[in-house]
């Protein structure tokens, strides 16, 4: 995983933003230093007699202040132009590229790969896979409150607003894992609403996509099969779906190929068997307020469930 940082850009867009940022920072820092230097000069200087400047000195100061004001205006014009051109360098959302619908919910991300061919429509959660080197258009929705999609290494943020659709174009330069998280306060678990972007070589992406589209095959024996039964016949299926099983709840994250995901609960925990067991044992202890309830499962049942879910590669 790369640093989640606006100053560690991994895409042309993010680099433009970082460049612009450094340009602003450099100029602003210089201005700040000049102001402080002037202040220090004023502090060190013993001062002149009298309560008021003589007229000629006042005139000179006026000229200097006028010039500085003009300079301020000039710098701001430069800043505005630089901003404008940076914005212009970003592509308009293109509906013909790979289009991914991202729906923000309290407190996770639903991800749906759009396609004119319905059978290629792919639903997953809390992570996005994208091919490197080409633009991907994100279609941003929210169903409850406002969220904000932000993966600083790749692009600036954009809000997901109920009742509106926003677009964001992502393009990664090279393969890597980029973390992002919700940047608009969205309630109790705003802090634990992360999304991971996996930028992959086109062939790897295509392989992932094909694999992800396939329903999971259900285990036919052992603990995993018991776990599958529990999943479908207990509380799990009320909210979660796993393609290939009879569970098709859609209010919680889709768990098809869950075993291949990097994290649990929108980036809260790394996806390991131990963490999953901890999460299932008491989600509210890990992510208090999340909509995943604490289900009363015996330890063997939980182990079976973990075996089943981790097996969904």
């Amino acid at each position: 995983m790369n640093w989640q940082s606006a100053l560690d850009p991994h895409s042309a867009n993010a680099r433009h933003l970082a460049d612009l940022f450094w340009f602003f920072t450099a100029l602003c820092a210089a201005i700040w230093l000049l102001v402080v230097a002037a202040l220090l000069r004023a502090i060190r200087h013993p001062g002149l007699a009298g309560e008021q400047d003589p007229p000629e000195r006042q005139l000179r100061k006026s000229r200097i202040v006028g010039a500085l004001t003009a300079l301020t205006v000039l710098i701001l014009v430069v800043f505005t132009a630089a901003s404008f051109y940076t914005t212009r360098s970003f592509a308009w959302p293109d509906m013909n590229t790979l289009r991914i619908k991202v729906t923000g919910q309290q407190w996770w991300w639903q991800v749906e790969y759009r396609n004119h061919d319905a059978s290629q429509v792919l639903t997953t959660a809390n992570e996005i896979h994208i091919p490197v080197g080409r633009p991907v258009t994100l279609e941003l929705h929210a169903t409850d409150v406002i969220h904000s999609f932000w993966v600083p290494d790749l692009m600036g943020k954009q809000d997901l607003i109920p009742g509106r659709t926003n677009y964001l174009t992502l393009q990664a330069d090279h393969a890597g894992v980029y973390r992002g998280q919700c940047a608009e306060f969205c309630g109790l678990e705003h802090a634990r609403m992360a999304i991971w972007v996996f930028a992959q070589e086109p062939s790897a992406f295509e392989a992932w996509r094909r694999h992800a589209l396939m329903p999971n095959t259900m285990p036919d024996g052992g603990a995993a099969a018991k776990g599958a039964y529990i999943f479908v016949h207990r509380q799990c299926a009320s909210c979660h779906a796993i393609n290939g099983s009879d569970a098709a709840g859609q209010t919680g994250p889709d768990l098809t190929h869950f075993g291949a995901r990097a994290t649990i609960a929108a980036g809260t925990l790394h996806n390991t068997a131990a963490n999953l067991d901890r999460w299932l044992a008491d989600p509210q202890a890990v992510k208090p307020g999340a909509n995943m309830p604490k289900v009363d499962l015996s330890a063997p049942d939980r182990a079976a469930l973990v075996a089943f879910l981790e097996g969904l590669k």
Binding site: W3, T25, C28, A49, S83, G156, R164, F185
Partner: protein, 631 residues
């Protein structure tokens, strides 16, 4: 009715004694509630605001303690969300705006050489409403009903479906209280400055502090209704089922943001502009030099006030607005830096040749320039749409606005407290402790907030109650937490300084700093009537130019009377009586507060409340035969 008694009929000492009797208020419980003295109310207002500062600051300390280490469990998300909402709401609505406005309540009449404000009872009323609103918010917090949707209460999170319980109603109604009081003070300030300046104080002689108050008051008059409209809509959505923000039924989520920021952005200037007034007021006596570029500074105030209304959208750069609009608002947001820059240049130009007196107030002005310029420059950065898409809603923005608001307003305020404390309480604050206070504040503040810039760029969003250790934010957060506690310590030092000063006997001279403006003419603290004779001024620094102030005579000595002057030239037009103390503003505030509180639970409270509100208002305005009412 006895024959009218004019001050010209009496010896000056006799006039002073008579006026003192007329303007003073009974030192009883009734008198305490009934006061209409702008100085008492102003003082109470400032002290109340400082108490809210303390509460908001404590909330911040708990938050900083929680964030000091990753995956911390000091408080859970529910408490944390309430804490930052309380911190933001308190600081903005209960501390910063009121404290700035009401420094004016105390100082403006003194600075313009009059005896009171235009509407003393309205002034009293606004204080009580403010007090009740603030108290309601904090009592609610202590019974677990503190608002938890952030200080700008974005819908739908604060709306009827996702704003669970009564928390957001309490927030929205707190807005109603503070807006009511804020607007009343603003109207009061405008009319006071327009019509009650002492003879000779034409508009080119108005102190810059007063100008700042005036421009702020105008901004409040035009901006605050926006938040009143929006918070009323929010309450209606929550309570009576309107659909202003229901996107599924013809409402819109962004309507809230437009209305809120149409107020919310100017609000920053409600805080900042008076602070510039404080800076201007301090620089002149401490540089022992008249202000360079007076008219430029006045112009800058107006320009800021005007431009502030054209850039609310820069709070909404990532909501998906059209790009053309974004460019416009980038330009307008940057443009507001021009007047601020001009102000800085003029102040430095004044200091440039001044013979500086390095007392605590001036140190805080230095701190102000040092910090505020940094905050202003990061403000230019966030005004850029592309940069804002990276830093919006991150700790970078948190750092930015703390540099602007703490650097730009709290530092001047602290300077102002050291500067005017003698006037308020007749005692000097200790200079040595003051300097400690300053340095501790500087170090603490910068340690607390500078790392936040970097944290924001490193991807730390604001309003998160915790973060995993692997994010690498732990070290800087810890530094920031330490800084926050140091900064808090500086306030503790101020509190000690104040308490120690108050325990000494009064003895401050009328003009301890050898300043030139009128508030230093009367004794410290000033008598109830401020000026025995209304002064006449002929310059911007009258105490410097004419130490023996010329005066106006011909006012009554047996009743509360002030001179009303013309708008531009401040030529006397008439004499206006000012009402005596009354319990009714307090009663009206109480009744209205109970009505508003009730309306959180049922809309009928407004209907039932009409009767007592009507009765108290009639009680307020019905003449009671005082001399002032009959003239």
């Amino acid at each position: 009715m006895s024959a009218p008694l004019l001050d010209t009929d009496l010896a000056p000492a006799e006039v002073s004694a008579r006026l003192e009797a007329v303007w003073s208020e009974p030192k009883t419980l009734w008198g305490w509630f009934a006061t209409v003295d702008h100085k008492k109310i102003g003082r109470r207002y400032v002290v109340t605001a400082l108490i809210f500062l303390l509460l908001g600051g404590l909330a911040a300390l708990v938050m900083r303690a929680q964030l000091g280490t990753p995956d911390n469990h000091l408080v859970g998300p529910d408490v944390y969300n309430q804490l930052f909402t309380m911190h933001g709401s308190t600081m903005m609505f209960l501390f910063a705006v009121p404290v700035m406005e009401t420094l004016g309540v105390y100082l403006v009449p003194l600075m313009i050489g009059t005896r009171t404000v235009a509407f003393p009872r309205l002034n009293a009323f606004s204080y009580w409403v403010y007090l009740f609103g603030g108290a309601m918010l904090w009592i609610a917090f202590f019974v677990n009903s503190g608002p938890d949707a952030g200080w700008f209460s974005y819908v739908p999170l604060a709306g009827p479906q996702y704003g669970i319980g009564k928390r957001s109603d309490i927030w929205a109604q707190m807005i109603t209280y503070t807006e009511l009081s804020g607007l009343a003070v603003a109207v009061n300030t405008i009319v006071t400055v327009f019509k009650m300046r002492c003879p000779g104080m034409s508009i080119d002689r108005i102190p810059l502090f007063v100008w700042a108050q005036l421009v702020t008051a105008f901004m409040i008059v035009f901006a605050m209704p926006a938040v009143m409209v929006s918070s009323t809509m929010l309450i209606c959505d929550r309570l009576v089922g309107t659909h202003f923000f229901n996107w599924a039924e013809g409402g819109d989520v962004l309507l809230w943001q437009h209305l809120f920021w149409f107020f919310g952005h100017p609000e920053v200037y409600f805080i900042f502009l008076p602070a510039t007034g404080i800076v201007s007021a301090i620089i002149v006596p401490f540089a022992r030099r008249k202000m360079f570029g007076y008219s430029v500074l006045v112009l800058a105030l107006f320009a800021t006030g005007f431009l502030a209304f054209g850039l609310w959208v820069h709070h909404m750069f990532v909501t998906g607005l059209p790009r053309l609009g974004e460019s416009f608002f980038t330009a307008s947001s940057m443009a507001v830096a021009v007047p601020s820059g001009m102000q800085i240049f003029c102040w430095i130009a004044t200091l440039w040749d001044g013979r500086l007196r390095f007392a605590t107030p001036l140190l805080f002005v230095f701190g102000f320039i040092f910090n505020f310029v940094a905050g202003g420059l990061t403000g230019v950065m966030v005004a850029s749409v592309p940069i804002d898409t990276q830093v919006h809603d991150t700790y970078f923005v948190v750092a930015h606005f703390h540099y602007v608001l703490v650097g730009g307003a709290v530092f001047p305020l602290l300077g102002g407290i050291y500067y005017w404390f003698p006037k308020f309480y007749g005692r000097m604050l200790d200079e040595r402790m003051g300097k400690w206070n300053f340095w501790l504040a500087m170090v603490g503040f910068n340690l607390a907030f500078f790392p936040m810039h970097i944290l924001g760029l490193m991807g730390m969003p604001r309003r998160i109650y915790t973060y995993p250790a692997e994010m690498g934010w732990g070290g800087m957060n810890l530094a920031s937490t330490i800084g926050a506690f140091l900064f808090a310590a500086s306030f503790a030092l101020l509190a000690v300084n104040i308490v120690r000063a108050l325990r000494r006997a009064p003895g401050a001279p009328a003009n301890p700093w050898d300043a030139g403006s009128l508030e230093w003419a009367p004794a410290s603290p000033p008598p109830p009537h401020n000026f025995t004779f209304t002064p006449v001024v002929a310059s911007r620094e009258p105490l410097w130019d004419t130490p023996e102030l010329p005066v106006t005579t011909g006012l009554h000595a047996d009743r509360r009377e002030t001179v009303i002057t013309s708008l531009v030239e401040a030529e006397p037009q008439m004499c206006e009586s000012s009402p005596p103390p009354s319990i009714w503003p307090f009663v009206a505030a109480l009744v209205i507060s109970v009505t508003l509180l009730g309306s959180i639970f049922t809309p009928w409270a407004l209907v039932w409340g009409l009767v007592p509100v009507g009765i108290t208002l009639i009680g307020w305005f019905w003449p009671k035969g005082a001399k002032e009412e009959e003239s």
